[in-house]
């Protein structure tokens, strides 16, 4: 093996070792930088290529130069400075270029082109270096070994390039050591094969041997300089790694935290919950917190203040819950926390304290904001085992807390879920009720108290549910209001009632109920107008029944709407009078044509003195204000007589008739007409 004998017989082994060290260290750093280069793109890739080139070039050149110094030439030796520098430049520029060319993600030839460039530049560096190596002797070259050296440099460089590229994938990480090894082999093989190709024999008469002491000093100097370069390359990589890790941590923080409150965000919370639900994990509680009355704060005082209030609320929750609990803001005014190692009683107490602390006023930027919070709690794993189940059940408990009047907390109970399921089912069905023609209007006739003659009827909506049978408005109207379906249902009922009543004798009126939500709807009047036009029913024969609650909140809007309705000729009656807030001032302020005494008073009259005197009082009040009074819920003859005697002008109730379908009502009216006739 001429190559091996070249290494061991013709070289100073100490120097060879130093060169080898240089080579391994250099290759190690080169591969690190190289990998980094391949991960970069654009201008960054160019810069990293440059740094890799400088490091690799310096290491390769130093390996070569130190080994040259270790070559035991039998003749005097000197170095040509210019060519030596050219060889350094070739090493740096060549490997830099090769690294850059090896980068493109796609294309099979990238590793070939890049690797070949690197291999060639190692070889070129070496042979240029050899021209700089001046020996006073007879030099001869073996073409075979020259060719072999270049081929092996290119071959191993290409292999190394392919391994570096492979090491970038998750699975290929382990290839990076092989890449270092094959780069080392490329450098070493080239050098010693090339040195085998080279032989020198002394010319007679000249002193022989190199100045080994001076060469050793030079070798150390070169090694130190190269080491400095290599370590500079390494440290820039380490610094870059650190900054990249830092910015990755920062990005991770941003991605997992809510900017406003600094709490975990929904994403992080989902991950935390997932973690807690892993098999073998201990029990814990999940509590959902929802701020009450936050939306109006945001709407009226602005988002900046709303944000401020949210971070104050977050701070309060954080302060009250145990330090180990994981708190997150799920979005809007919704928070949640996971608390482990607490008993149900402790969580119960914690929620109570939270409710209280969150109900205290917030003073910020000179404003006083009254907040509140509702909470729903679940026990893992009694109330659910998966994150989805737990969240869903906590939501159900939260909903129950809100339903119970807010500013309180509820633990999840199975029956809550049933209630909500029923609601959900009805919700689906109600949305389709109109289009499926499941709604129906029934009519309860009213009579004149004196003559007993029919004066008209009240329209009452029914829902013929395909599975649950007939449902009363008390069940589905609140749901319809909540779902925003009441306007559509109300309009449908009104249209049906007007169309039906158009067939009644011309002196009869139809009364239709309006929900408070409808009165708040600005489109109400337009919709009534349209219905009257389409059915041709006269406005004067339409009576709209409203409840006191409709007048409670936004009474300016309600007043405007009612005045407009009145101006169109319709009548307005106040339903269920005597039960609600019954402020007499309504009767003054609002354009009311009729009061309907609540059925509960009628039911207890005339025997119950209190109820009887209320009926008297209302009847008298109506008389003095010029407002007609209707008594509802008349069931007995004595009630009829009492109400009539006290001055009620109109009566309604089972004694007269139950609510009946329109066909039946038409028959009733027709029969009455023939009896009169």
């Amino acid at each position: 093996m001429p190559v091996l004998s070249c290494i061991f017989a013709e070289h100073d082994l100490g120097m060879v070792l130093l060169a080898a060290l240089m080579c391994v260290a250099g290759s190690f750093v080169t591969v690190r930088l190289w990998r980094r280069t391949l991960q970069a793109s654009g201008r960054m890739r160019l810069e990293w290529s440059f740094l890799t080139g400088v490091t690799a070039g310096a290491a390769i050149w130093a390996t070569h130069f130190i080994a040259m110094l270790g070559y035991l030439a039998p003749v005097p030796v000197s170095f040509d400075a210019q060519l030596t520098i050219v060889s350094i430049v070739i090493a740096i520029a060549g490997t830099g270029l090769g690294v850059y060319l090896s980068a493109p993600e796609r294309g099979r030839i990238a590793p070939l082109v890049g690797g070949a460039t690197i291999g060639l530049s190692i070889a070129a560096m070496h042979y240029v270096g050899m021209f700089a190596y001046r020996v006073d002797g007879v030099v001869s070259w073996s073409d075979f070994y020259i060719a072999l050296s270049i081929a092996s440099a290119i071959g191993f460089s290409v292999v190394s390039t392919a391994l570096v590229r492979a090491s970038l994938t998750e699975k290929g990480r382990r290839y990076r050591h092989l890449a270092v090894a094959s780069l080392v082999v490329a450098i070493v093989a080239l050098h010693f094969t090339a040195m085998t190709a080279f032989s020198v024999s002394p010319v007679a008469g000249l002193s022989s041997g190199a100045d080994s002491a001076a060469f050793q000093a030079m070798a150390m100097a070169v090694a130190i300089a190269a080491t400095i370069i290599v370590f500079t390359g390494l440290s820039s990589h380490v610094i870059d790694d650190d900054t990249r890790a830092a910015s990755r941590r920062e990005l991770e923080y941003i991605a997992s935290h809510d900017e406003l409150t600094g709490l975990s965000n929904r994403r992080k919370f989902a991950a935390d919950l997932e973690e807690h639900c892993r098999p073998g994990a201990g029990p814990f509680h999940l509590v959902m917190v929802d701020l009450d009355r936050f939306k109006p704060v945001n709407d009226t005082l602005g988002h900046a203040l709303g944000d401020r209030v949210l971070s104050v609320a977050a701070g309060r929750i954080r302060h009250v819950i145990p330090a180990g609990a994981q708190l997150a803001r799920l979005g809007g005014d919704e928070f949640a926390f996971i608390a482990g190692g607490m008993s149900d009683d402790q969580v119960d107490d914690l929620c109570r304290r939270l409710v209280e602390v969150l109900s205290r006023p917030v003073i910020t930027q000179g404003h006083v904001i009254e907040l509140g919070a509702s909470m729903g709690a679940v026990r893992a794993f009694a109330d659910g085992t998966t994150p989805d189940e737990l969240i869903q059940n906590a939501d159900i408990a939260l909903y129950a807390a809100k339903d119970a009047g807010r500013s309180c907390h509820r633990f999840f109970e199975a029956r809550m879920a049933e209630k909500i399921q029923l609601r959900r089912a009805l919700e689906q069905d109600l949305r389709r009720a109109i289009s499926r023609d499941e709604l129906e209007v029934h009519y309860q006739p009213k009579v004149d108290a004196r003559s007993g003659a029919f004066t008209g009827a009240e329209a009452l909506v029914r829902w013929n549910h395909p599975e649950r049978g007939q449902l009363s408005p008390a069940v589905f109207v609140p749901l319809a209001e909540e779902l925003g379906l009441i306007n559509a249902i109300g309009a449908w009922v009104l249209a049906r009632a007007c169309a039906d009543a158009a067939t009644w004798p011309p002196h009869m009126c139809v009364a239709v109920n309006l929900s408070p939500v409808q009165i708040m709807d600005r489109r109400l009047v337009r919709s009534i107008r349209k219905i009257l036009k389409e059915t041709g029913y006269p406005a004067e024969r339409l009576e709209l029944e409203i409840t006191e609650t409709a007048l409670l909140g936004n009474d300016v809007q309600a007043l405007a709407t009612l005045k407009e309705i009145r101006a169109l000729g319709m009548k307005i009656s106040l339903d269920d009078f005597g039960t609600g807030y019954s402020s007499l001032s309504y009767l003054h302020r609002f354009p009311i044509d009729r009061i309907k005494i609540d059925r509960s008073f009628v039911a207890r009259s005339p025997n119950d003195a209190g109820s009887a005197s209320i009926i008297q009082a209302i009847a008298r009040l109506g008389a003095s204000l010029g407002i007609k009074v209707t008594a509802e819920g008349i069931e007995t003859e004595s009630q009829r007589r009492f109400s009539s005697d006290e001055g009620c002008s109109e009566l309604q109730g089972y004694l007269i008739s139950r609510p009946v379908p329109h066909a039946q009502l038409a028959a009733l009216f027709a029969k009455a007409r023939t009896e009169v006739a």
Partner: protein, 146 residues
């Protein structure tokens, strides 16, 4: 020629009452109240607040006054404090001057000492009037310290 006086920087006053018992828990011991007063004096001095804390039987009545930001930060700390409950804000106003400039946090409490019959009576009266006539109650609080 007289120079126009520069307007005094405005003072924010917060007046509230609360129950001197932990949320859903036990009444505070005199030791707890003393600790609260100590912290209050220390904190208020360092952020330039002044005021008075009354304890009438089981009720706290407190007035804190000072610069807006300090008031808001301190009131927030008071609001997360679980050593009192049923907190009700009575009044928040901006004024020109302080009512208790020389007190970081004065403290007057009712007790069973017969010698302090008059003070106890005043405290009771303040607690009755504070919500309906806060101005008058504040004047009376001021008088307690003379």
């Amino acid at each position: 020629m007289t120079s126009t006086p520069t307007p005094a920087p405005s003072v924010q006053r917060v007046l509230y009452r609360s129950k001197a018992k932990r949320i859903g828990g036990a009444p505070l011991a005199p030791r707890d109240v003393a600790a609260i007063v100590d912290t209050s004096v220390r904190n208020n001095r360092s952020c330039g607040l002044s005021g008075i804390l009354l304890k009438v039987d089981d009720t706290f009545i407190q007035l804190v006054e000072g610069e807006q930001r300090a008031i808001e930060a301190t009131f927030e700390r008071i609001c997360v404090d679980e050593r009192h409950s049923d907190l009700v804000l009575i009044d928040m106003i901006t004024a020109e001057t302080r009512l208790f400039p020389e007190w970081s946090m004065a403290h007057v409490g009712s007790d069973a000492d017969p010698m302090r019959l008059q003070v106890n009576r005043d405290l009771k009266e303040i607690s009755f009037t504070v919500e309906t006539h806060p101005e008058a109650a504040l004047k009376q609080m001021r008088a307690l310290l003379r």
